[in-house]
């Protein structure tokens, strides 16, 4: 005879009345004591803890607010010419000084911020949309169609993007809208590649199969199931598109394909300022400073987003 049966026999001598059911324990056994965290609230919590990213995000909000409201509230318009105040350095009347036509650089900087940020955001959305559609279709169809569509991407990619942009802008004539179209139409390849890769991984999963079994169409599956699951790499990559677009706009202005006069953009202001670097350095300094701060914020916030949305990527 072994020990267990001995103790069982001993227990058997205890009368049942000595035991009672703990009702409270049974009811609460699998109740959640805290609200369950969704993926997004978890990501938001991680993002909030990242001080650098939060400061960057706050600065960006301030910059955007200034871009929206400063030109409305300023007593100068961005194209007000004042021949009695030409090329003045920063004064109390003109915080950032004036340019060669006596225009207030402070208001021009914020007017420029509007144009540059508008270009950047619309380009990011355009790139995202085209890339997701193209990559989604290509990845979902697979096989020969996928092969053909990716070959097309390779051909577009084989030329530096800026050359395509320059060609397209020459066709459409320089302006805000053509710049958006040109950068938007050529910069989506990366996004398409990324989403296609995600689709390839996700389309074999059980929940997609379940949805298909219930009769869901391809479009529904891509939009409803694949897209939300691939959202974090998409957001991260879109956050990287924005500084890139600001760069591209500045570059285009620098080679003379920027927004037409008298519109201001950061690129126009910086390239005008660069020409007067030796005589009036402050005219480059202020726009350049704004560009740098904005880029810095977008990059740091992008890194923060990456760490928050994809903790595995953190180093």
């Amino acid at each position: 005879m072994d020990e267990t049966s001995v103790s069982a026999a001993a227990l058997g001598e205890l009368p049942d009345e000595l035991f009672e059911h703990d009702e409270s324990a049974r009811v609460d056994a699998d109740r959640m004591t805290r609200p369950s965290l969704t993926y997004w609230s978890d990501a938001w919590r991680r993002f909030r803890e990242n001080k650098v990213a939060m400061v960057s995000a706050a600065l960006l909000v301030i910059i955007i607010l200034f871009a929206i409201f400063q030109p409305m509230l300023s007593k100068y318009a961005y194209d007000d010419i004042d021949y009695f105040a030409i090329n003045q350095g920063p004064t109390s009347k003109h915080v950032f000084g004036t340019d060669e036509l006596g225009r207030d650089i402070f208001v021009r900087c914020w007017k420029g911020a509007r144009v540059s940020l508008l270009i950047a955001f619309v380009v990011a959305i355009l790139n995202g949309t085209i890339g997701i559609l193209y990559g989604g279709i290509s990845g979902y169809l697979g096989g020969a169609a996928d092969n053909l569509m990716m070959r097309f991407c390779e051909i577009i990619e084989s030329i530096p993007q800026m050359l395509w942009v320059v060609l397209l802008i020459l066709i459409m004539k320089p302006g805000v809208f053509p710049i958006i179209i040109a950068i938007g139409a050529t910069g989506w390849i990366g996004m398409a590649r990324l989403f296609r890769g995600q689709v390839f991984q996700l389309k074999e999963t059980e929940f997609v199969m379940a949805s298909r079994t219930m009769g869901a169409g391809s479009f529904w599956i891509i939009i409803k199931h694949l897209l939300p699951n691939a959202m974090s790499p998409i957001i991260i990559s879109m956050a990287n598109v924005i500084p890139g677009a600001i760069f591209s706009e500045a570059f285009l202005s620098y080679i003379g394909l920027g927004v037409p006069l008298p519109t201001a953009s950061w690129g126009v202001l910086a390239s005008d300022g660069a020409n007067k670097l030796l005589t009036y350095p402050y005219q480059l300094f202020f726009p350049a400073m704004l560009i740098c701060i904005t880029m810095l914020c977008f990059n740091l916030m992008g890194d923060g987003l990456r760490d928050a949305l994809d903790p595995r990527m953190r180093q």
Binding site: I159, P243, G256, A274, L300
Partner: protein, 306 residues
């Protein structure tokens, strides 16, 4: 390997052909007449100009003539400057661009790799933070801002180097410095990331358990594997080197190929833009092709996959 190379070569030819075709029709889609002459011009002069550049022929015929010329290595003549050919512009500008480009990449790659490696090995050390800041600054400061800055400091204030132009080795210092700035940031960040990745791999533990010294592990296992992603970046990099650095060439007034392109764009010199674009595209496509081949040699898995 031969089959892979052949396949890649054929697809490169197809890409070259398609790119040339698309570029040709895009340039011809630019609205307006190629010769915007403000003065009163006799019809006969206009007709003669059009005939000279073959613009009086139907578009499709122009296309075939252009493609035939391309096969013979004739990329066309400038529309604005008499007697200036696209090929001539490229042969005179390319070496200058290459000096700046290769200089920038070489210095950037060297300094960047060293910084990145140290940053990864001494994770969370001083160098690590320097590299992180540098990497962020490298992508946050536009290169024309940085270029103008060093021009002001080293040429105007300190007078160490000439402000602009291209008359000797001293003129190359500042442009190369400007070009290496983004590269340093890029390579430092890249090597740091890939090195940190490699450091966590199992074969590093194996090497440690074999009793190799830290120096030997770094040299024989970490560095070798960390440099693999660098090979992928070689393609765009080489292409960028040869197609010139538009902004830096403009700031320092260097007669490179990028400067030619900017001039052509500002003058609406259509034949020049067309020719230069196609040459730029050819250079990048050939560079990508060569990198693919190199990668196929370095990493056999890629050959099998394609």
């Amino acid at each position: 390997m031969l089959k892979y190379t052949l396949k890649r070569f054929l697809s490169m030819l197809v890409t070259l052909f398609l790119v040339a075709t698309v570029t040709f029709f895009l340039i011809h889609a630019i609205p307006g007449q190629p010769f915007e002459i403000t003065r009163e011009t006799p019809e006969s002069v206009k007709a003669a100009l059009y005939a000279k550049y073959g613009l009086d022929k139907p578009l499709l015929q122009q296309y075939f003539i252009y493609m035939k010329n391309l096969l013979h290595g004739d990329f066309g003549m400038s529309m604005k400057y008499k007697g200036q050919s696209v090929a001539g512009e490229v042969t005179s500008g390319m070496p200058v661009s290459a000096v700046i480009g290769f200089g920038g990449v070489l210095i950037g790659c060297l300094i960047g790799s060293v910084l990145g490696a140290i940053a990864a090995l001494k994770n969370k050390g001083v160098v690590d933070y320097v590299v992180i800041v540098l990497a962020i600054l490298g992508v946050s400061v536009p290169n024309f801002v940085f270029g103008s800055l060093i021009q002001r400091v080293f040429a105007v204030q300190l007078k160490w180097f000439p402000i602009q132009g291209w008359k000797g080795a001293r003129y190359a210092v500042l442009p190369i410095m400007a070009a290496s700035f983004t590269n340093i940031a890029f390579y430092a960040r890249m090597l740091r990331t890939s090195m940190l990745d490699v450091m966590g791999q199992d074969y590093i533990y194996t090497a440690q358990s074999k009793g190799l010294t830290q120096g030997e592990i770094v040299r024989r296992h970490m560095l070798r594997n960390s440099f693999l992603p660098l090979v992928t970046s070689l393609g765009p990099m080489c292409a960028g080197v040869l197609t010139g650095n538009f902004v830096i060439e403009k700031i320092f007034n260097v007669p490179g190929i990028g400067q030619s392109m900017i001039l052509a764009i500002q003058n609406f010199d259509y034949t020049m833009i067309l020719g230069l674009t196609i040459i730029f595209a050819f250079i990048s496509i050939v560079c990508y092709f060569m990198v693919d081949i190199v990668y196929g040699i370095v990493d056999p898995r890629i050959r099998v996959a394609k």
